[in-house]
C-alpha cells in the first residue's frame, strides 16, 4: 500500500471532549487536564525571577514581561478587533514620557505614576488615533507606524522634555523584587483579563467589527465608539508597560519611540501564535532572551529576529502555540482514503 492512499486525520482526544462541558467537574483527571496548562504558565511566570542566575538575567525577565504586555496588546488589537497597529512604540513612548514627567516634574511616586500613566497615556493615544479609526488594513498600519516617528521628531524639533537627552533622574522601583513581581503580575492579570474580556458581550462586538463592520453598523451599534474603547484598552496596556520601562531604566527618552518596540512584539506574536493571547508571551519568552544573548553582536540581533519573523510568516504562519495546542487536544493517525 503506497502512502498516497493514506491521509492523516486529526481527532479530538476523549479527555478534551469530556472536559469541554460540565462533566469536567466529575473527575480529578479532567480537572487537572484543564488546569495543568494554566498552572504551568502561572507557576512558571511566578518562579521565573527565582530561577534566574543573578541581577542581569532578572532584569531581562522584566524586559520580557514589558514586551509581553506590548505583544498582548498588539494581539488583542489585531486579532480580536481587526485594527493592525504597527505603533507599539507610540504606546511605550507615551507611557514612558507621562511617567517620567509626573515623576520628575511633579514628584509623584512610582506606585502612582504607573496607573496614572496608563490612564493619561491611554486617553492621549486614543485621542490621537481617534481620527484614524475609520481606516482599515494597510492604511491603519501605515498611519500607526508613523505616529511614533512623528512624536520623536516633534520632541526633537521643539526640544521639549529634555529634547534628545531625555528625562533623567527618574525614581526606580523600591526594590528589584517589587519590580519583577509587579511586571510579572501585570502580564498575568492582563492575559487572563483579556481572555475573559474577549468572550464577553463587548468582546463579541469587537470580533464582529473585525469580521464585518458594515453588519455591526447596520445593527445600530456605534463602531467608532467600540473601536475607540479597544484602542484605549490596548494603548493603556502599552502605556503601563512603558511607564514600567521608564522606572526600570530610570530614564525616558526618544529611543522609547524607536522601531524596536514596534517590530519585536509583532515578531513575538507571529512566532508564538497569532490570536491565542498566550502565544505572544511565549514568543517574547523565546525572542527577548535570545536577542539579549546576541547583544554582543550589535545589530546582528535585529537581523536575527527579522529573519526568524520572515521564516515563520512563510512556513509556520500559525505559530508555536497553535501547534502545541493541537498536540495537546488532538491525536493524529493515518487512515485509508
Amino acid at each position: 500500500m503506497s502512502t498516497q492512499e493514506l491521509r492523516k486525520e486529526r481527532i479530538d482526544r476523549g479527555i478534551k471532549v469530556r472536559s469541554d462541558g460540565l462533566y469536567a467537574l466529575m473527575s480529578l483527571r479532567e480537572l487537572s487536564y484543564l488546569t495543568l496548562p494554566r498552572f504551568i504558565l502561572i507557576a512558571g511566570m511566578i518562579s521565573l525571577p527565582f530561577l534566574m542566575p543573578g541581577m542581569y538575567w532578572q532584569r531581562v525577565i522584566s524586559i520580557v514581561c514589558i514586551y509581553a504586555v506590548l505583544a498582548l496588546s498588539f494581539d488583542f488589537l489585531s486579532h480580536y478587533v481587526g485594527l493592525v497597529s504597527l505603533g507599539g512604540a507610540f504606546f511605550i513612548g507615551t507611557g514612558g514620557y507621562v511617567a517620567g514627567i509626573l515623576n520628575t516634574y511633579y514628584g509623584v511616586p512610582p506606585v502612582l505614576t504607573v496607573p496614572l500613566a496608563a490612564a493619561i497615556g491611554g486617553i492621549f493615544c486614543t485621542l490621537m488615533l481617534l481620527p484614524c479609526l475609520p481606516l482599515k488594513g494597510v492604511y491603519f498600519a501605515i498611519v500607526t507606524l508613523m505616529y511614533p516617528l512623528f512624536m520623536a521628531r516633534i520632541i526633537e524639533a521643539f526640544d521639549i522634555f529634555g529634547g534628545t537627552d531625555g528625562i533623567v533622574g527618574i525614581d526606580s522601583f523600591s526594590s528589584a523584587f517589587v519590580e519583577q513581581y509587579f511586571v510579572v503580575c501585570m502580564v498575568l492579570i492582563f492575559l487572563f483579563g483579556l481572555r475573559r474580556f474577549v468572550t464577553t458581550d463587548r468582546g463579541l462586538i469587537f470580533t464582529a467589527i473585525m469580521d464585518n463592520d458594515q453588519a455591526v453598523k447596520a445593527s445600530g451599534i456605534n463602531i467608532t465608539k467600540y473601536k475607540a474603547l479597544a484602542v484605549f484598552i490596548a494603548s493603556s496596556m502599552g502605556c503601563m508597560a512603558g511607564a514600567c520601562l521608564t522606572h526600570i531604566y530610570m530614564w525616558s527618552g526618544i529611543s522609547q519611540f524607536a522601531l524596536d518596540f514596534s517590530i519585536l512584539p509583532i515578531a513575538a506574536t507571529v512566532i508564538g501564535g497569532a490570536g491565542t493571547l498566550v502565544g505572544p508571551i511565549l514568543g517574547c519568552l523565546i525572542l527577548v532572551p535570545v536577542s539579549e544573548l546576541l547583544r554582543d553582536f550589535g545589530t546582528l540581533r535585529i537581523v536575527f529576529y527579522a529573519s526568524i519573523l520572515v521564516g515563520f510568516i512563510l512556513f509556520r504562519s500559525d505559530g508555536i502555540m497553535v501547534f502545541i495546542q493541537r498536540k495537546y487536544e488532538q491525536f493524529e493517525r493515518w487512515t485509508k482514503i
Binding site: 484614524c132 475609520p134 494597510v138 501605515i142 545589530t299 519573523l309 512563510l314
Partner: protein, 288 residues
Amino acid sequence: MEILVYGTINSVSLALMGLGFAMVYGISRVPNFAHGALYIICGFVTWILFHSLGLPYFMAIILSLCVNGILGMLMYRFVLIRVRGMNISEIIASYAIGLVILEGLRFGGFRGMTYTLPAFMEGSLMIGDVPVDYHRIIMTIIGISLVAGLWLFTHYTKIGLALQGMAQDERAALMLGIDSDFMAMLAMGFGAVLAGVAATLILPLGNIVVESGYHVLIMSIAVCIVGGLGSWVGAFFAAFLIGYAQIITVVFIGSHFQMVVAILAIILTLILKPSGLFGHQKELEERV
C-alpha cells in the same frame, strides 16, 4: 528664487524615491517596505563595484541596477508571493526583509563617512543668483525624463500595457492571458531598479549611510500616500507638493522640521482623504 530652485530639486529627488514604491504598489498591491533597503543596497553595490573592483563608473551603475532588479524579483518570487493578498503579512514580511538587509549591512561594517560616490560632473552653475552644481541639474533632468519615459512605457509597450491591465483589474488581466505572478515579479524588479536609479542619482550628493534607508522609506510612503496609493502620476505631483513644503519650512522655520512635514503629510492625508490627491480607487469604500 532659492526656494524655487531647491524646491524643484528636492521635489524631483522625492519623486525618484517614491516612484518605485508607487509602481510596485500600483501593480501588484504589495506595499514594499523593503524599498529603502533596496535603495541603500544599490548604493553599496555600486560603491563596491567602483572602488573595490575598479570598474568604470557607468558600468558599475548599470551592473548594480541589474543586481538590484534581480534582487527585487527574487524577493518577490521566494518570499512575497507566498503572502500575497494578506495585507498585514505583506507589510511585516517586506519590512522584515528590509530590516535584515539594512541591519545586516550595518553589521557588515558599512558605516561611517568613507562611503561616497563621485558626482557625474563637477562644478556649478548660477541660476539667477543661486549656485547649483551640475550634478543636481543632471539629476533633475534625468528624473523628469524618467517619469516621461515611464509614462510612455506603460502606455505604448506590450509589457507596460500588461502591467497597466494588472493594476486595473487583476482577474480580467488573468482572463486575457496575462501571467499575473510573472507580471507582479516584473513590477517588483522594476520597482527595485527605480529605487536603484534614485540611489545612484541622489547618493553622490552625500555619504551612503544605512540610516537613510529608513528615511527614504518614510519619504516614499509620504509621497505615495499623499498622491494616492497606487497612482504613480499622483505620486509625482505629491512629490512636488511635499518637496516645496519641505524647502519652505526649512527656509522659514528650521531644518529640524523637514521630517515633521513629511510625517504630518502622511497622517493628515490618511485622516482627511485616505484615497490621496489622485487616488482613483472606486472600491475605496471597502478598503477604507
